[in-house]
Amino acid sequence: MTFALQIIVTGLVTGSIYMLIALGVTLLFGIMRVVNFVHGELCMLSAFAVYYVSVLWGMPFLVGVAAAILFSAIVAVLCQKLLFKPLNYDILTCFILGVGASFAIRSATWAVVGPEPVAIPPTFPGVFVWNGVYVAKQRVFAAVLCSVLAIALAVFLRYTRPGRAMRAVEQDREAALLMGINPESVYVTVFVISAMLAAVGGAMLGTLFGADPEMGADPLLKSFIIVQIGGMGSILGTVIAGLAIGLSDSVTGTVFGGELAFIFDFAILMIFLIVRPRGLFGYDV
């Protein structure tokens, strides 16, 4: 029983991080119909930003995270202005272009920081023990932070003016334009928010598992699976699917070893494609 609880808690923690990263993907897709392949590299760059600022330069952890968010947002807006906007946000060409950009970024990072993975020591060392279940404090911190941010995002989209503007653009770009909303500036906001989510998720992954130039590929692929299962563009679907994928990873990882966990994710995806191709809460594809 304790063992099962331990697996569930571990799964929910990693699931919440994946959920946060996938929220960025689903936000971009839902509002702009763009799949940003650079998203995983934003996570990777953020983890390294935290490493450089907090570990190498000795600044406090939160300063590192703030630097990571800033850096990630700058890179994302640069990608938007230089790559996606010239292509008029055409989904297929943007996807292919994003693949190229992501390789360039990954390879450039590799050249700068070297192939060795680096560790980011936990800000909150120590372990919580509760009914025989052990959770590192850093993990609890990550899970709480990710959940708070997810809720904040939902509140932001629902109740604030810029959030409402985003949903207006999502529903009908032309109508929003007629109501005096500038879609281009909404797009910048969307890219910045999505980059911030990637930055926090990447920073958390970095503190839990270390940072290396290849680390962006895995959360990106997982995000795609999560978003497809949850339904493209659906916040609630992404949250549920993210936690579910985290749980499934934890269970299969314990039973079969970490390398096979991904194959089970894919199996779940395939089942969804057979039974419900548009995902849990998605609209028709």
């Binding site: 799949v35 292919i96 190229g100 950009a101």
Partner: protein, 311 residues
């Protein structure tokens, strides 16, 4: 049209004569790599006609390579029997995978095939016993007869590759010009219109997907028995992306596009080989720059230049 034919005939004769003049085994090796990449690029191009890109192409190639490696090494089967099996098996796997992946359109299809390729890699990397795990399989025997295909002499492999690539290009060219290809082009123009005149759009895409998996499997088999070593580190997602870059840089609109792209982009990285870790950076930048400046690739840019000169 006839001048094109003469040009192709002259090119083929020239290619057949290359080993008589070139004895440098490194140059021949690069030529063989070009042949392999052309096979893969044309296979992806056939499906690409319908605006679909299979990011699982490296996965199918890996399945073909693994089939060929296990058959020739562990079971002692001749390469000439293993080669067609290495094509049929990925095609057989492509049928159900394609049937499911084609339930989603456009970008979602990319993502699902991408995940498929990673799963193939994951499975081969996980199981040590038949597949060799992350270490892969080494000492895969070359094709028979042994006196002809020796590891030191690249010339027989050169001709084998040439035959395979010419056959592939010819078959894919014939397919793209047949009624089947016409249907694919009509799907490219307008999926809605095609389906409204009674064309089973998904069915045609599925067949194109299966054919491209077949060709990728053949290429994998040739790769395995030529290089003699395969591992999950080779057939990764980057490999699929490289194939895509061949087509994007070469141009999508004719078969010449993937061929030109594969030739140019096999030679360019070889020139940059000394830069090592920057190779992928250069590759990514070539993709980005060529998409922004030449939306229809090298062949499209040439065609536009010709037209401008004619006008």
């Amino acid at each position: 049209m006839t001048s094109d034919r003469w040009g192709i005939a002259a090119l083929l004769v020239a290619l057949a004569l290359v080993p008589l003049g070139v004895h440098d085994s490194y140059l021949l090796h690069v030529m063989i790599l070009i042949f392999l990449n052309i096979m893969l690029a044309t296979s992806m191009w056939l499906l690409g006609i319908t605006h679909l890109i299979s990011f699982g192409q490296a996965g199918f190639m890996f399945i073909g390579a693994m089939t060929s490696a296990l058959l020739t090494k562990d079971l002692g089967v001749s390469f000439w029997i293993a080669l067609p099996i290495a094509g049929v098996l990925p095609a057989a796997i492509a049928a159900p995978v394609g049937r499911l992946s084609l339930r989603v359109r456009g970008v979602y299809f990319f993502l699902v095939t991408l995940a498929f390729g990673e799963v193939v890699r994951g499975i081969f990397a996980y199981f040590q016993t038949p597949f060799g795990g992350w270490y892969g399989i080494r000492d895969i025997p070359p094709p028979s007869p042994r006196w002809l295909f020796t590891p030191l002499d690249k010339v027989p492999f050169y001709y084998l590759g040439l035959v395979l690539v010419v056959l592939t290009c010819w078959v894919i060219w014939r397919i793209s010009r047949s009624w089947f290809g016409e249907v694919l082009w009509s799907i490219r123009e307008s999926e809605l219109l095609a389906s409204s005149v009674g064309i089973n759009v998904t069915g045609y895409k599925l067949v194109a997907f299966i054919i491209s998996a077949f060709v990728a499997g053949l290429a994998g088999s040739f790769y395995a028995n030529y290089v003699g070593y395969i591992s999950p580190l080779i057939f990764d997602f980057q490999y699929s992306v490289s194939i895509l870059i061949f087509i994007v840089v070469g141009g999508f609109s004719t078969l010449a596009g993937p061929v030109v792209g594969a030739v140019v982009l096999t030679i360019v990285p070889e020139l940059f080989r000394a830069t090592g870790k920057y190779q992928m950076l250069i590759f990514g930048m070539i993709l980005v720059v060529s998409m922004l400046t030449m939306p229809d690739g090298i062949t499209g840019a040439i065609r536009r230049l010709r037209r401008r000169r004619a006008a």
